[in-house]
Symmetry: C2
């Protein structure tokens, strides 16, 4: 058996019938979650990016946290602005970035070229499920409507956290906030230093591996050196624009549910067979709110 050497072997041992009662893994809790613990994502909030190589990347947008940027992104998708777009930057342990890059293409109707700095929003009015562990980047951390958030009760702000697969808006130096035409997804350790400095507009809910496995760019900041290396994008559409029969559908776990509270507790205290020492805490970005295909 020395050759198995799995990191999380417990998941594969179901059926091995241990004498003691089985301790639940996070995956067990997701698999057993009642229908009431799930919320369907509005197809108008799903951005579907099809790469020319056949890979599909689906982004859940967060209009409640960056409304002007997200409205821009939707207007760009609906007007086929991204025709000819590519992934032109892949920086290891940081981001993959796509769009038209050096294009001077005019903005289509409905786009606000200079959006406000939607880096934070007021904490007031948000129902937060606290993480229950300390956060290095903010006085508070937790979950709002399925999203990882950092916040300050004293200063009154809240922001979407930069975690693995988070999607943000590329920008130049301040006061530029970016239009939404150039987007990036995080493909490394959550670069939380970007929190409150860049507009986070969503997260990849399927196909992040299609970006994270791309060759890294060799120029400064991970830009590809030659345009021949750019990864062509066939289409970027909203799911709501795709015929219903072909439309991908997703649901996320309600972070206000008892099921999520259980999931969060177990994430912080893995006690299944592999985890000989429960951590007693968890990083905001390691919780990974469950999102799955809706069947």
């Amino acid at each position: 058996m020395r050759s198995l050497l799995l990191l999380t072997a417990a998941a594969m041992l179901i059926g091995a019938a241990p004498a003691k009662p089985k301790l639940l893994t996070p995956n067990d809790i997701v698999a057993g979650a009642p229908a009431s613990a799930w919320k369907t994502i509005d197809p108008d909030d799903l951005l579907v990016m099809d790469l020319a190589n056949g890979g599909r990347v689906v982004v859940q947008l967060a209009p409640q946290f960056a409304p002007v940027h997200v409205a821009n992104i939707k207007a760009l998708a609906r007007s086929n602005y991204w025709d000819g777009a590519t992934v032109y930057r892949v920086q290891d342990n940081y981001v993959a970035q796509w769009g038209l890059n050096d294009s001077e293409k005019p903005w289509p109707k409905g786009v606000t070229p200079k959006p406000p700095a939607e880096y934070t929003r007021p904490l007031k009015g948000l129902a937060i499920k606290p993480l229950g562990s300390p956060d290095p980047y903010a006085p508070g951390a937790g979950f709002v409507d399925g999203w990882p958030m950092a916040y300050s009760p004293k200063a009154g702000w809240a922001n979407l956290a930069h975690c693995y697969a988070s999607v943000g808006v590329g920008r130049d130096l301040s006061p530029d906030t970016g239009s939404g035409g150039e987007l990036y997804a995080v493909i490394g350790h959550g670069p939380r230093q970007l929190d409150r400095v860049i507009a986070v507009v969503g997260r990849v809910v399927e196909g992040i591996d299609k970006l994270s496995s791309l060759p890294r760019g060799t120029e400064a900041l991970g830009f590809y050196k030659d345009k021949a290396q750019y990864v062509p994008i066939r289409a970027i559409r909203l799911a709501s624009e795709i015929p219903a029969s072909e439309r991908p559908a997703f649901e996320y776990m309600d972070t206000g549910s008892a099921t999520f509270a259980h999931y969060l507790r177990v994430r912080a205290n893995r006690h299944d067979d592999f985890y000989i020492r429960p951590a007693g805490g968890v990083d905001l970005c390691n919780v990974q709110v469950p999102v799955r295909r809706k069947v």
Copy 2:
């Protein structure tokens, strides 16, 4: 200028001569570090893995934290145990794993088949540079001799933290601790829940992108489905076994130095042109102790 849209544009604006004094970035501090702030890595502590596709991955071993496992790894390298090894598992946002997988090849001389559980070591005797930010996984976090550590002053343990590019020893269920024959490198958000559960033996100091950009395995836990997908490894050697003229050499920043203290402060408080709001804190795994080629 809307088309530039860089995430960290400040680095490219040197020479643009702003009127105010230039605020240092972490990279500036690394570039300006005195020779006294660097420590050379012993070539006997560098594991050089050459992939058949030409990519090279260099791992700095940490014998001071997992002596028996590291001694095993050195004995395996010296005896060419890994002839025929492959990367056979790549799980997105988690690990790339390599070795002989299902082989029953006998252990060479000098290998301890059942090492002790070197998941922690005593805190006593370690000179720690504290992180200065809270850590979700341990009462304390900081740096020892160039390594990110978590620790408990009360319980008296310290452990190498699982960060991006950390290298650990694959194992089966406890009490198995793994031999060192199967190793993995982290290619996603630091899976700190593995701290004190697995032996960390080092970190990739060059070429992590050669692992992180590999196609993801589609079987459970990211194992490749077909052996034809395995990524062949040409050789795994210690740098000390490579002729001096071809031997790669590396140095890391002394985490006890004033330069590192400055670097750490700026990491927690980015205040260059792009960062409009310094975070006031930093995640242990986002500090990234500087390591570079020694010329």
